[in-house]
Subunit: 231 residues, 2 copies
């Protein structure tokens, strides 16, 4: 399975959340209705992309599914790429929030990192459309500079502050672990790596990369994963 | 700096060396001349790509530099993409051989891995055109399934055989370390990571990922790097 996204699109800055969420300073009845229509369009596009992929989905299918007039699409989005960007920004934020929820009650920063990495490797097995998209987007580094990158930095820093992790360079550890995750997700998507233990084995590797001794890293990575509540 | 390569090209299987080297069962005078002309075209293309990039280089510039008639280009390559593929396959093989030469006298399998990773991180600082290309090619997994991937597997296996490395899964460790390398190279190319210590810090991380204890990994990664003889 493959998701085609143009280079121009991949290289745009769409993953910065503030670029894709319309600012509404003082909500009025009109602005609330406008936001509701936009949200319906995004939800409809998301369903269609998941059902049939990005490429074949046409704008009139999106407006039909959302029960919105074709012309009003352009009151919200300049192009199909623009709504793809909004759908992805929403999904990235939701996956990030889902991992936050999964890890909220964990006290060990190493387990937080392990669960986050296992979540995304599992995503490659469970939801290849979104996983491929994240992998392809990584090409431009935007995933790491996005809401996911901020979370990865936060989690690494928490482990360093707690004395659980030791790395020579935070940015090198951050892009290295992110790159490793993308490599493993891609391996699962390609079928080059069996999905069953990939997340656990990868998470143990990332913990070792972050300076956790091997036996300790393996134990943390093997802990039961909380049941995922995926968006 | 950025190198534009079409998705179709990236997704092709050109990095398999056997696809790009013309088989010559019984060398004859004609076939030797044919190979020599092809090699001149590849060398000329390589110079031009390095000087001015892939995109702006035109086929007639390549034939002129190679002192070959324009029409005979098509006796050897179906398109510009085909000669780009040949140039890259040559460069990948040369970088792989250069690392082999650098590491030939090393007895510690951990040092072999560290030197190889430091070589490619250094490449991102020294030769951004080729480094960008390797990073972009990784998108399709072809780098790992190429001559470089075979070497990475060989080096990981040597460390496992020697009891120097311990990993739960060889393929996960392989794609994880490869992904980490690509992430770090990209970080250097983007300017997100200072180049000076990136290779050393990344190499230490890969060794930890491969199960080498942290203090040991740091010591190996800091060993003086043999002077690079780059192609």
């Amino acid at each position: 399975m493959s998701v085609h996204v143009t280079d121009e699109f991949i290289n745009s800055d769409f993953l910065i959340a503030s670029d894709t969420v319309s600012p509404v300073a003082t909500p009025t009845r009109t602005s609330r209705r406008r936001e509701a229509t936009r949200a319906r369009l995004v939800a409809a596009a998301r369903e269609l992309f998941a059902e049939q992929g990005f490429e074949p989905t046409r704008i009139n299918e999106i407006t039909e599914r959302a029960d919105v007039g074709f012309g009003s699409f352009y009151n919200h989005f300049a192009s199909k790429d623009a709504i793809v960007a909004a759908v992805i920004a929403t999904a990235v934020e939701e996956h990030g929030s889902a991992v936050d929820a999964l890890t909220a009650d964990l006290e060990d920063p190493a387990e937080v990192v392990a669960v986050a990495h296992r979540y995304f490797v599992r995503l490659a097995g469970d939801d290849p459309i979104w996983a491929w998209l994240l992998v392809r987007l990584d090409l431009s580094h935007n995933v790491l500079s996005s809401a996911l990158g901020e979370r990865a930095f936060r989690d690494l820093q928490a482990g360093l502050d707690a004395g659980r992790f030791t790395v020579a360079s935070v940015p090198v550890a951050l892009v290295g672990s992110g790159g490793a995750l993308v490599g493993v997700m891609r391996g699962v998507l390609d079928g080059a790596i069996p999905a069953d233990r990939a997340g656990t084995d990868h998470a143990a590797g990332v913990l070792r990369l972050f300076g956790v001794p091997a036996a300790d890293a393996a134990e943390v990575a093997e802990r039961p994963l909380p049941p995922a509540t995926r968006p």
